[in-house]
């Protein structure tokens, strides 16, 4: 039974990749459990980098997660039901038949369904790339790259999680995208546990609250880690006692070794096993395992 743990935040830059990359390292080398990482931040994936970069790519393939409508203008009878049916206002009347605004088209195919003469067919559209490989630290990662300027990231995330599960690991660790929208919903869907990375700023707290709301709707159990905690200890205390009471499993101090570790592309647990941040991380990770 694979256990899926998601690291998300609401606001960007609070430490999702920092926590998830070190947690993967902890699971693999401290807890000695076979674990696979999923980089679900498909617009700006960083997880493999944080673990040393890929040294071996096992699979690299395009992902066709969406469709594009294609018209056979010879069949079109200009009834314009497609124009009326499109909920995204992506179709206009043209001289020969429907004209599509592909920037607005979501590729869902309502036009094709309502066309009474079958003039619209849906062609597969490549929306990104999937890369499976092993990083310098020996950890398997499944990463997705969404085509620049693209949408439908949620579908790519679902596919990445599927690929990770196929490897039958004990743990799947998902590094989610910032925000609370489509790709984050896909990241959370079906997960066993959510770890929220919070930094002590009102903006991060707002984002975290929005995320917790989404987690509740999707029935995923949340835990909170306070990152860069000593930047505002008073706020951290308040968060532990009030806003996130009962959810906080630990605080990680701001530590320049974190940046040095990133610069050398090594997880902190490997780069600096004795630093205060490392010790705080290990305590948090033990709590995460307990919570399962």
């Amino acid at each position: 039974m694979t256990i899926e743990i998601v690291f998300a935040s609401g606001k960007g830059g609070t430490g999702k990749t920092f926590l998830s990359s070190n947690f993967l390292y902890y699971l693999t080398f401290f807890a000695r459990e076979y674990s696979v990482g999923v980089d679900a931040d498909v617009e700006a994936p960083d997880l493999a980098l944080a673990l040393g970069g890929f040294t071996c790519i096992k699979r690299r393939e395009p992902f066709a997660g969406s469709w594009l409508p294609v018209v056979d203008y010879a069949k079109c009878i200009k009834c314009w039901r497609c124009v009326e049916a499109c909920k995204f206002s992506a179709i206009k009347q043209g001289a020969e038949g429907p004209v599509f605004d592909y920037d607005k088209c979501e590729g869902l195919g309502t036009c094709s369904v309502v066309c009474p003469v079958g003039a619209i067919s849906m062609k597969e559209k490549v929306i990104g790339e999937i890369v499976e490989g092993v990083t310098a630290t020996g950890i398997h990662i499944v990463t997705g790259f969404l085509s620049l300027g693209g949408s439908s990231s949620g579908r790519l995330v679902y596919e990445l999680k599927e690929r990770a599960r196929e490897m039958k690991p004990k743990f799947v660790v998902v590094d989610a995208a910032p925000g609370i929208g489509c790709p984050v919903v896909s990241s959370l869907s079906g997960a066993n546990l959510l770890v929220v990375a919070v930094e002590p700023t009102p903006q991060s707290v707002k984002g975290a609250k929005r995320l917790l709301h989404v987690a509740e709707m999707l029935k995923v159990k949340p835990l909170v880690v306070l990152n860069k905690a000593d930047l505002n200890p008073q706020l951290c205390k308040k968060l532990e006692e009030e806003e996130f009471s009962g959810l906080v499993i630990g605080s990680i101090p701001f530590d320049k070794k974190v940046l040095e570790a990133y610069a050398s592309m090594k997880p902190l647990l490997l780069y600096s096993p004795e630093s205060p941040a490392t010790k705080a991380l290990v305590k948090c990770f033990e709590k995460i395992i307990e919570a399962i």
Binding site: G10, K11, G12, G13, T14, T17, D41, E43, A44, D46, L49, A50, A85, K87, F88, D103, E106, L108, G109, T110, V113, V114, L146, L148, G149, G150, S151, S153, G154, A177, P178, G179, I180, G181, C182, V184, V185, S189, P200, T201, P202, Q203, K206, G207, R210, L211, H213, V214, M217, L231, N232, L235, K256, K257, V258, L259, E260, Y262, A263, M265
Partner: protein, 295 residues
């Protein structure tokens, strides 16, 4: 009318701080609108402590199906055709609709042979508009639990475009990433400010973002390296990259005063104008003013 996009790829680099500082300073002499399309977690309004006047709000609505169980025969055609897998039908007589997964395509409405699907409305988000002195602010926000952030961002941009004839400059604060929303904003922009930090992740995301910028025709680009001198960072590498690419680059030093001001709901220019980061941001503002004057 010129559009300045503030983006960067990586989250948490300081886009909002730069966008708000820029908009506030520009509005002293120019008619300015600040647009927040980071609809999943808008933060611009948090830096206007106490002096935002709300002018109005609109709901961003979209189609959602409403199932009439009296008419439903549980044939499950809607469930089979739903591209989002948002409908589950148990043949013995139950239909489950997962609104959080619905993408609003309407296919269920069109394929139902029994007229059991009615047109309902989902509120995806809100576009709120404010004024702060002579500056106008338009903020889009997604309703948590809704996944359709692109439509809310588009509605926010549409609302902003209504003001295009009344302003001299629009500053747009984008979400992190390199997706559809960032792409749409870049397509409207004359100038792009790319905010990054001196880490490998920041540099990797900046490079990715720049590939997206190359797909649209933006007049000018500049990089802002925030928290530039943070110990352990790769400042030199980012500077070398910028020089190789022929990019203007502005550095903002790591400054606890900036974090403090941010936490309290002010820009550092307002709260600590003599601090190192405030002076650096003031230079960025001057550069943008020069761009706007010389076109």
């Amino acid at each position: 009318m010129k559009v300045v996009a503030v983006t960067g790829g990586k989250g948490g680099t300081g886009k909002t701080v730069i966008a708000v500082s820029l908009a506030k300073e520009l509005s002293k002499k120019l008619r300015t609108v600040l647009v927040d399309v980071d609809v999943e977690n808008p933060c611009t309004y948090t830096l206007f402590k106490n002096y935002l006047k709300k002018e109005g709000e609109i709901e961003v609505k979209a189609f959602k199906p409403v199932f009439d169980e009296a008419a439903c025969r549980y044939c499950a055609i809607c469930a089979a055709k739903c591209p989002a897998h948002a409908i589950a039908v148990v043949p013995s007589g139950k239909l489950l609709f997962f609104e959080g997964l619905c993408e609003g395509c309407g296919i269920c409405f069109y394929v139902c042979p029994h007229g059991a699907v009615k047109e309902g409305e989902a509120v995806l988000g809100h576009v709120r508009y404010f004024s702060a002195g002579s500056l106008r602010l338009i903020v889009g926000e997604l309703v948590p639990g809704q996944r359709r952030y692109i439509e809310v961002a588009e509605a926010t941009l549409d609302k902003a475009k209504e003001l295009w004839n009344e302003v001299d400059v629009a500053v747009i604060d984008t979400p992190p990433g390199t997706g559809r929303v960032v792409y749409r904003v870049l397509s409207l922009a004359d100038y792009v400010i790319e905010v990054t930090e001196p880490t490998r992740l920041g540099l990797a995301d900046l490079k990715r973002l720049r590939e997206l910028v190359k797909l649209v025709s933006v007049k000018r680009e500049a990089v802002v390296l925030n928290k530039a001198d943070i110990p352990g960072g790769i400042r030199r590498e980012v500077l070398d990259y910028a020089h190789r690419e022929g990019l203007d680059i502005f550095e903002v030093p790591f400054d606890m005063k900036l974090a403090k001001a941010y936490s309290m709901g002010f820009t550092v220019l307002e709260k600590y104008p003599d601090s190192p980061s405030a002076k650096a941001i003031a230079e960025i503002v001057s550069a943008v003013k020069r761009w706007l004057e010389t076109g």
